[in-house]
């Protein structure tokens, strides 16, 4: 089984790219990774089509963990997941975790071959319960 993929969805492309750089520094190419940020005009925001494309780029048969920043990023990611092929939907998890720390720790967990639920759980341990 391949490793779980990581997707980073920020309102800012720079934040998303920077978080992805930090993930790569930690795990190299051991996990599929994609990021997206900004709306369809290139301003701050999130874009459902771009989120769907990012999930596709980071796709792994083991599933994909998605890290999001603020409100609209989460809502748009939920919308994107609903618009993706049903067979894949169950293997996509949004992690309730801070985007940068969550992405790095989720990727580190994924790089050891952990399943999606454990990757998600490890990232979410960063958030106060």
């Amino acid at each position: 089984m391949p490793n779980v993929g990581i997707v980073i969805v920020s309102h800012s492309e720079k934040v998303a790219e920077g978080a992805a750089d930090m993930v790569r520094q930690m795990v190299g190419d051991a996990v599929p990774l994609a990021f997206t940020g900004g709306n369809s005009d290139g301003g701050l925001g999130t874009d459902v089509g771009q989120i769907m494309a990012a999930i596709d780029r980071a796709w792994s048969e083991a599933g994909v963990a998605v890290l999001v920043d603020l409100g609209g990023a989460e809502t748009n990611t939920e919308m994107a997941i609903e618009m993706i092929d049903e067979a894949r939907q169950k293997r996509i998890a949004i992690c309730n975790a801070p985007i940068v720390e969550g992405a790095v720790i989720a990727a580190t967990e994924a790089s050891g071959g952990s399943p999606l639920d454990l990757v998600k759980q490890t990232a979410e341990e960063l958030s106060p319960q």
Partner: protein, 199 residues
């Protein structure tokens, strides 16, 4: 539903949002990230450009296409929220809707938006406009005008509310004293639709 009526509904809703884009943005700048007007304008401009093709479709298909365009174009939280509203209406409405069918469809759409936003009435959101409108919706004559006025008053009533959901909630008590931009855009759309049904 008649193609000319559908086209006029689409054009008037789109023009209403586009004409109020600056106001919606100003409301959002006060308590949010200031993108509501520009985001909604982007979505409704795309719908306006497509008005003829959209109006030619049966009502449920038209609503589904509008919902999908809003999801794909608006961005921000309002994209999926308004998108969900229209996509749910598309599922629930018949091509020749009765008043009863319309109300039931809006009630289902309200529940879907609530679930999408993980929100509820009283949190200073668009739900605070849709809930009183649904509650006031009955069979009396002149109901369209009454619902339009209910929506306007409900948007005003978000001014003293404290935001519990969305970016505005980060402001805590400082969100009090401003109208919720989503409530305002909802009341604008409801007033525009109501006008086509006699308001």
């Amino acid at each position: 539903m008649d193609t000319a009526l559908k086209k006029s509904l689409i054009e008037d809703c789109a023009k209403m949002i586009i004409a109020h884009a600056d106001e919606l943005t100003a409301l959002d700048q006060a308590i949010g990230d200031g993108d509501h007007g520009v985001n909604m304008k982007r979505g409704f401009e795309s719908i306006l450009a497509d008005a003829d093709a959209l109006a030619a479709r049966p009502l449920p298909d038209m609503l589904k296409a509008i919902g999908t365009q809003l999801v794909m174009k608006v961005g921000g939280a309002s994209g999926p929220l308004y998108g969900t509203l229209f996509l749910t209406l598309a599922k629930e409405i018949s091509d020749q809707p009765t008043s009863e069918n319309l109300k039931a469809a809006f009630a289902a759409a309200f529940e879907a938006v609530k679930a999408r936003g993980k929100s509820d009435v009283g949190q200073k959101t668009m739900l605070d406009v849709f809930a009183p409108v649904l509650a006031a919706w009955d069979d009396r004559s002149g109901i369209a005008a009454h619902l339009s006025e209910t929506a306007r008053q409900a948007a005003d009533a978000t001014i003293p509310m404290k935001a519990i959901r969305g970016r505005a909630s980060f402001l805590g008590d400082r969100s009090i004293g401003h109208m919720d931009p989503g409530a305002r855009s909802s009341s604008l759309l409801i007033a525009t639709i109501a006008k086509h049904f006699g308001a």
